[in-house]
């Protein structure tokens, strides 16, 4: 993921695949869209008899892809049982690879990656595990469900299937995820971090989404009619993938270019947990910024593929934003693909982007169907029938719970690329809610004095687990940093995020003000997500029925709810996204935040990670036999198991100019970062550590440094057999003993999933400034690969490398360096 400066690349679209209720395969879906068909029908697969809405955009059976590769196809079907979402994605991938003829093997595999948006993923497996537990107790639960359940499973499967070792990111900001993923992937190419990306989204129908939207009274009892009757939405399912390539590479291989991703932008409404700002202000800012990044004016827009869910809230706000964008001029035609396929949640933005590509290709506007009386319309929504038009610029909108807005700009012709800004990025503050204390100084003091936060669980019920170690957060100490009037709206994850974010802003003395609120945003990463809330909802569905779901709980069940609450509570209106690439989400988010700041999309960003500890989560890891029963010993020949816990961490990353102008204390500079994948297997990590070492090297190169410039590595080994050994080997590949010092917080703070690595980044800011690093506690019989690396080392202020690993082979690494005034 090394950067190639200076010329930003055009991002070409060289392949598209769509599957949804209108059909399996792009041309079939596109024909049905052109013919104004409806994919909305009575739901068959799920029992929705007690819900107000019986309709959905449901697909039939989704076939398991065959093992056999087609000629020339670098295909390898991942091992094990594949859930519906993964099957959908893999089938779409096979189509898009065939269509684009992407020569994966001709590229550096570490520069071809995956960005996937999803909101539901394998949730069904988690629900079944929970229901098995409720009905039959621990022994009745199937362990394999836990390996399929996480949101990142489909992305891992894609990486495995095609040997993609580049950046792998799962974005889960609810209904904006598909669009955000395509935008994110396009930035990686534009900014030279990847040559090609597979980007898109997938979501399947799930009883939790059906019941949740029903509880909010957001479902239409009839097939939905966006922008006309606007009495609610229908949920759908599907997947779409785009192959994005650097234009230069696409031209070199003479690939057919279907269109371009010209730009995108995200904003936060900071208005309400679920409803959009009724005046569409956040949506307006997203569209404006996306056009500005693309070097375009509103008057250049030929067609808007709207969010168009059909709910009164969206259909009231979105047209206002459109009208404001066009400032009195007649807006271009706008239509809602959701009228034909339903709202496919995390896949929606991707499917709609793919449909927009087809519209560009064929010069045809997709319709909004179910308009009862077209003569009553006050705007052009392409009612009931598609129509030919000259289309060169399309804006595709996706808006989500938590006030997350994403606007993508797609184009048919190559246009001048806007030269992005290139700021230096520094860290000016940190907020910590950890088992080792609350606040940056408390964490550092606890690390200095060798405190260990791992002990017998005191407030978390581990009665169902066979082991009882945990690292718990002092709830009262955390709550002091949350507005009491707001806390009742928050679940555990929401409290962790809000408290950590507030502490970080305070630590940075960042002056929040109304005038600058749209220049500060947040990238949130989490492994567990809001498991407490999701567990409550699945229990209700399993015991009382889907019609009994509590409408107050459902909005908090999306991965991005906690980030949305923090932005609402603190009035942060800049770019907002949520990553769900498991344990590498926190550091990936720090890299994403740093890039947005570097490229001028925000003056400051909060890189936040938080993870919950719940009895169900503890049981899950316990069932998989991964938890320690005595104490945690990293890098050990006899793996101890890990101790999981809860925590939140937030870093304020800011342009150097902004930090200097306000006289901020600069803790460190974000020098470089990278993400790699091992393309090994779903829920498994490749043992040689090659991809992991590659993430070190590419982050170091991104910073313009060499391994010799790195003084300290903050590792992510956590007491397991596979990960600890892979990390030991990765470190040994890059450094000889004595060349680098090793630190690791997992045996002190506990393994807080994606959050430990951000806590390590907080410690690293201290390391580059004072030379101190926490002693590596819990060493017993170190692995031979690394035993000599672990010997005590002197104080060292050279750059710090912080790394994290996710189950399923994603490696995110960030390099922090001491900031010195030139």
């Amino acid at each position: 993921m090394d950067r190639k400066e200076p010329s930003p690349e055009r991002v070409a679209i060289t392949g598209v695949a769509i599957s949804c209720a209108l059909g399996d395969g792009t041309e079939q879906v596109w024909k049905a869209i052109r013919d104004a068909q409806s994919g909305i029908s009575l739901t068959k697969r799920l029992d929705v008899s007690t819900l107000s809405c019986k309709y959905s955009g449901e697909m039939g059976d989704v076939a398991t892809p065959s093992r056999t590769a087609r000629q020339g196809e670098p295909w390898r079907r991942p091992r094990g049982r594949l859930d519906r979402a993964t099957r959908l994605v893999l089938n779409a991938a096979r189509e898009v690879f065939a269509a684009s003829e992407l020569p994966v093997t001709a590229y550096d595999p570490y520069r071809v990656g995956v960005a996937l948006g999803t909101s539901v993923g394998g949730l069904d497996e988690g629900e079944r595990f929970h229901w098995e537990l409720l009905e039959g107790g621990v022994e009745a639960t199937r362990r394999d469900r836990l390996l399929i359940y996480p949101l990142y499973t489909s992305a891992d499967a894609l990486s495995v299937a095609y040997g993609l070792k580049g950046p792998k990111v799962v974005i889960s900001n609810a209904c904006a995820a598909g669009g955000n993923s395509i935008g994110y992937a396009s930035d990686l190419i534009r900014w030279g971090r990847a040559d090609a990306m597979l980007a898109g989204g997938v979501d399947v129908l799930d009883i939790l989404s059906m019941a949740g939207f029903d509880s909010l009274k957001a479902l239409d009892p009839e097939p939905c009619a966006p922008y006309s009757r606007s009495t609610g939405l229908n949920i759908g399912e599907g997947a779409a993938l785009l192959v994005l390539e650097a234009e230069s590479a696409a031209l070199r291989r003479e690939a057919p270019i279907l269109g371009y991703i010209r730009g995108y932008a995200m904003t936060s409404d900071a208005h309400h947990a679920t409803a959009p700002d009724p005046a569409g202000n956040g949506a307006l800012r997203a569209m404006r910024r996306a056009l500005a990044r693309s070097g375009l004016q509103p008057s250049d827009v030929d067609y808007v593929n709207g969010h168009g869910t059909g709910t009164p809230a969206n259909d009231g706000a979105e047209p206002k934003a459109i009208d404001a964008l066009f400032q009195g001029a007649t807006p271009p035609p706008m239509s809602s693909t959701k009228s034909q396929i339903g709202h496919t949640l995390g896949a929606a933005g991707a499917i709609e982007a793919a449909v927009s590509v087809m519209a560009l290709r064929d010069g045809l506007l997709p319709p909004t169907i179910n308009v009862a009386d077209p003569s009553a319309l006050t705007r052009d929504i392409v009612p009931n029938a598609s129509r030919p038009a000259t289309v060169d610029t399309v804006v595709s909108n996706s808006f989500a719970f938590g006030g997350n807005n994403c606007a993508l700009v797609l184009g048919g012709r190559p246009r001048e690329v806007v030269e992005p800004a290139d700021h230096r990025v520094v860290i000016t503050g940190a907020g910590v809610v950890s088992p080792l204390g609350v606040g940056r100084q408390e964490l550092l003091e606890a690390l200095r004095t060798g405190q260990v936060a791992i002990g017998q669980a005191a407030t978390t019920d581990t009665g169902l687990s066979s082991t009882h170690l945990a690292a718990e957060v002092a709830e009262a100490a955390m709550r002091r940093h949350i507005d009491r009037a707001y806390v009742r709206r928050l679940d555990q994850l929401g409290r962790l995020v809000l408290a950590a974010t507030r502490l970080a802003l305070k630590d940075a003395a960042y002056p929040l003000s109304r005038d600058t609120s749209d220049r500060i945003g947040m990238i949130f990463g989490t492994f567990t997500g809001p498991l407490e809330t999701v567990g409550q909802l699945t229990e209700t569905i399993g015991t009382l029925g889907p019609h009994r779901v509590n409408p107050k709980l459902f909005p908090n069940s999306v991965m991005n709810a906690a980030a949305g609450h923090a932005c609402l509570s603190l009035q942060l209106r800049g770019p907002l996204s949520t990553l769900a690439t498991g344990c590498s989400s926190g550091l990936t988010g720090l890299g994403y935040a740093a890039d947005l700041v570097r490229r001028g999309e925000a003056d400051a960003m909060l890189a936040v990670s938080a993870d919950e500890l719940t009895p169900l989560l503890h049981l899950g890891f316990d069932r998989l036999g991964m938890l320690a029963d005595q104490s945690v010993h990293p890098y050990d020949t006899d793996p101890s198991g890990m101790a999981i816990g809860a925590g939140g961490a937030a870093l304020v990353v800011e342009t150097l100019e902004s930090a200097k102008a306000r006289g901020a204390t600069i803790l460190a500079e974000v020098a470089g970062h990278s993400i790699t994948s091992d393309a090994y297997r779903v829920a498994g990590n490749e043992p040689s550590g090659e991809a992991w070492a590659e993430s070190f090297l590419r982050a170091i190169a991104d910073a313009g440094l060499t391994p010799a410039d790195v003084g300290t590595v903050y590792g992510d080994a956590r007491g397991t057999a596979a990960l600890d050994r892979a990390e030991a080997r990765a470190v040994a590949k890059v450094w000889q003993p004595g060349q680098v010092r090793l630190a690791n917080l997992n045996s002190q703070t506990g393994h807080l999933h994606s959050t430990t690595a951000l806590l390590a980044a907080v410690a690293a800011t201290e390391t580059v400034s004072s030379g101190w690093a926490p002693e590596l506690l819990g060493l017993r019989n170190p692995l031979p690969e690394i035993a000599d690396h672990l010997k005590a080392a002197p104080s060292d202020t050279r750059a710090c490398l912080v790394t994290s690993v996710n189950w399923g082979g994603t490696y995110a690494t960030v390099l922090l360096s001491r900031w010195e005034d030139d």
């Binding site: 009724p278 005046a279 206002k320 949350i482 009491r484 929040l512 003000s513 603190l570 009035q571």
Partner: protein, 337 residues
């Protein structure tokens, strides 16, 4: 504040079904600035302002050292400075108190700016249409308890979304010299001047406490009026110590009630509330609600019978206690298009 301009019922109808104009003549306005501003405001109010952001409003009580209520304060965060707004009837008492305690604060400056500003309430289900004319952004984006400034012909207005009727409600703060002009403009745009009597009915219906009536000339703690929800007990403020004791010794609790009959005569404060011939409490405040066509009110009764859904005697009438609010505001059914 005038009791009535022309007709209380008509003024009430304006507030409930169109737009009423409330003239907050005599309201208190105080700025608190300096490095210790937030700490000072927190020390004199029942809620801290640590979590308040620029452009947001919090509402809190100002208490005496003995825990009794001096007044209600709207706390506006203007970045590093706070503006405290106090209802006209309590302005003098709060002014005296603030100025007395301000002397002890070394790093906060309290300034009485009451003479500089004049406030108008613009409330009712249609009020947003009028107030939109004073804002350069869509009014639907304005969150409850937030404010924005807006310049108009060189005059700076501070417009907040607050209110005391349960309807869409806005407060427009204008430099005193421009108040008459603004009043005329608001009336011209269709806001009907509404007296305190009409406002008071609306307040009761949606259970906004009328401090001057419900304390009935006595001193009262937040517990006596059911206002403990406006107190954050996790911080120290003037009166917080006494308040902890007051909770222990509270004998009677506030309840809301509706008369069974359709009589229009509201009982005076102090009228006995009776169960089985025994006096168990007294009326604290009552009004006739034109929408409900009933007399509604508040009372303080013995803790043993302080619950909703119970029948009581009140003089020769029967009443039922209920859970507030008494009615749902019209604005709930009005979309801000």
């Amino acid at each position: 504040m005038k009791s009535v301009y022309t007709d209380t019922i008509e003024e009430y109808q304006a507030l409930r079904s169109a737009t009423g104009l409330i003239d907050y003549e005599g309201a208190g306005y105080f700025t608190v600035s300096g490095p210790g501003a937030a700490e000072f405001v927190g020390s004199v109010c029942t809620r801290p302002v640590d979590f308040l952001l620029e452009g947001q409003i919090s509402v809190a009580l100002v208490l005496r050292e003995d825990g009794t209520i001096l007044g209600e304060a709207q706390l506006h965060c203007r970045g590093a400075e706070y503006l405290i707004q106090v209802w006209p009837a309590q302005a003098d008492a709060v002014r005296a108190h603030l100025m007395a305690v301000a002397g002890d604060a070394s790093d906060a400056t309290v300034t009485d700016v009451s003479a500089d500003y004049h406030g108008f309430g613009v409330e009712g289900p249609e009020s947003f249409r009028i107030v939109q004319k004073f804002l350069d952004f869509p009014i639907a984006s304005m969150a409850y308890r937030s404010f924005a400034t807006s310049e108009r012909d060189g005059v700076e207005l501070m417009i907040s979304r607050t209110g005391v009727t349960g309807e869409y409600g806005y407060n427009v703060l204008v430099p005193t010299g421009k108040a008459a002009e603004l009043r005329e403009e608001l009336v011209g745009l269709g806001a009907r001047e509404s007296g305190i009597d009409a406002v008071d009915i609306c307040r009761m219906e949606t259970r906004f406490t009328n401090l001057e009536k419900e304390t009935a000339g006595d001193v009262a703690t937040p517990f006596d009026l059911g206002l403990q929800w406006m107190v954050d007990f996790n911080h120290e403020f003037i009166g917080s110590g006494a308040l902890a004791d007051a909770q222990q010794s509270q004998a009677r609790q506030p309840v809301c009630w509706v008369a069974d009959d359709e009589g229009t005569e509201a009982p005076s404060a102090g009228t006995s509330i009776i169960v089985g011939g025994q006096e168990v409490g007294a009326v604290t405040h009552a009004v006739f609600s034109p929408s409900l066509k009933r007399v509604i009110g508040t009372a303080r009764v013995d803790s043993t019978v302080a619950a909703s859904g119970l029948g009581f005697g009140m003089g020769d009438r029967e009443i039922q206690t209920i859970s507030a609010p008494f009615l749902v505001a019209t604005s709930f059914g009005v979309s801000m298009e």
